[in-house]
C-alpha cells in the first residue's frame, strides 16, 4: 500500500501551552492532525517519527 509522504511535522499547543496536535505536511498538503491514535494521519506521523532521522519538532 502506498505510504503517506510526510515531509514536516511540528507540535502546536493550545492557549494553555498544552500540546494540541501536530502540523504536518502530508503528501504535499499542510494538515492539522489531532493527537488521536485512531486518526490515520497521526498514526502515520508516529510511524514516520519512529524512523531514524525523523522528529516531530517542538511547538513554537
Amino acid at each position: 500500500m502506498d505510504a503517506m509522504i510526510i515531509t514536516n511535522a511540528q507540535y502546536y499547543n493550545d492557549p494553555d501551552g498544552n500540546q494540541a496536535g501536530v502540523i504536518a505536511t502530508i503528501d504535499g498538503t499542510e494538515m492539522y492532525v489531532p493527537l488521536d491514535t485512531a486518526n490515520r494521519h497521526y498514526a502515520a506521523i508516529i510511524e514516520w517519527a519512529s524512523q531514524e532521522g525523523n522528529t516531530i519538532a517542538d511547538a513554537d
Binding site: 499547543n13 493550545d14 492557549p15 494540541a20 496536535g21 494538515m31 492532525v33 489531532p34 485512531a38
Partner: protein
Amino acid sequence: MPKDKLTDYSATNASNTDVGGVNIDEGMLPSGVNNAIREVLTHLKNFASGTDGIDVLSLADDDASAAMKIQAPASVTADTTLTLPDGDGDDGQALVTDGSGTLSWASLHSAKNLIINGAMQVAQRGTSSTSTGYQTVDRFRVDKNNVAQLVFTQSQSTTAPDGFSNSLKIEVTTAETTLDAADYLVFTQRIEAQNLQHLNYGASSAKSLTLSFWVRSSLTGKYSVNIYSEDGNRVNTLSFNISTADTWEYISIQIDGDTAGTINNDNGAGLNLNFVLAAGSTFSGTITSGWQAYTNAKYAHSDQVNFIAQTGTFYITGIQLTVGDVDLPFIHESYAENLAKCQRYYQKDFRLVAWNVSTNASTSASLGNFPVVMRSAPSAVRTGSGALTSTAPSSTVMYAESGYIYSGTSNACSSNLTLDAEL
C-alpha cells in the same frame, strides 16, 4: 358445457349433467358410472399436481363461518411458481424472493447495506484523479504497490447500469509491462468495526454475508475479491468471473461468517473489502475457501486476471454487503442519507468563523459542531481566509469528533476546513 376440470363444475346440482363428457344426467346408462368416477379422479389428480388450477384457495375457519382466501391476480402474464422455504423462519423474518420464484426467510433488519456509498453517488473530494488513496468517490480508496510503469485514473463515472447513475471507474492508461511479484492494484472500502458487532464474528453463531455488485470490464476473466478482518488478521478470498467484455454483469457472492476471528467493538477498521485487479506472486496463491489466517499469498487467486497488463476500463457500482444468504436488491438511499454517512469519515467546506471576543482587538474565538459526528478527531486542512479577515487563522484550533474550538490572535477570521477521519 363439458365438465373437464374442477373449475367447470357447477355449484348448482342440477347443472352437473356430465363429467368429462360422460353423461350423468337423469336416466344415465349404468355403464357410465365407472367412467364418470374415473373422470372425477382424473380431475382431482390434475388439481393435485397443478396441471389444472383453481381460481381461489379458500381456507375456512373452524365453524366455516369465514375463510382466508389466496388467489392469483385477475390476469397472469405467464405461469409462475412460488416455492416456499422449509421451516417457519425466525422471529421477525419475512418471505423474500430470489427473483425466480424461490422464496426464503430473511430478517428485515438485515436489509441494511454495510457498504457506504455503494452506488458511488457521493464524491466530495473530486471526480477524477491519477493518484492513489481516497481521491474520488467517498469511502473507496485505490492502492497500488511496487508497480513501475502503471498509470491509471480513478473517477466517478456516469456510465452505470439501469437503476444507477454513477460508478467507480478505474482506467489503465499506461500498462505495466511486467507483473512483478510485489505488484498489485486494488480498491477498498474499510468498514468501521463497531458497525459489525451484530455479525457475531468469533462465535459459532457468526453470521454469513451476501456481497453483490454490478461490474463491467474491458478484460474478461477471473477477479479476486477478499474480505479482510483487521483485528483477527484473517481473510476470506473469493472470486467472480466477468464473461463478456464491456458489458454490465451482476455478481452475487455468499460469504461465510468467521467463527474464529473477532472484530473489536471500536472505531477502527473491522472488515476491509478489497477488489483485486492485479496481484503478483507475493500477493496471490492457491486459495482454500473460507476464512483463514492472513498471509500475503492468500490475498488473491493466482489464476486471476492481470488487469494492468494492458490499457482498459473497469467499472463497478451497486456494491452491497448484507447479513444473511439472501441476494437482496440494492437498497437505494437518498443522496442526503448517503452524504451524511460519508461525512462521518470526510467533510469539506466546513466554515470556521471567529469574531473578536473582547476589547482586545487582537483576539478572536469560536466553537462549532460538525454536521455529523466524525469517526475520530479529524485531520484538518484549512484553506482561504474568507471575507472577514485579512489573514487565515494561524492560531490554535482543537478538533474533536464532534466539533472544534478556535482561539486566534486576529480580530476576526474565517476559513474553510476539510476534515478527514477516514479509516
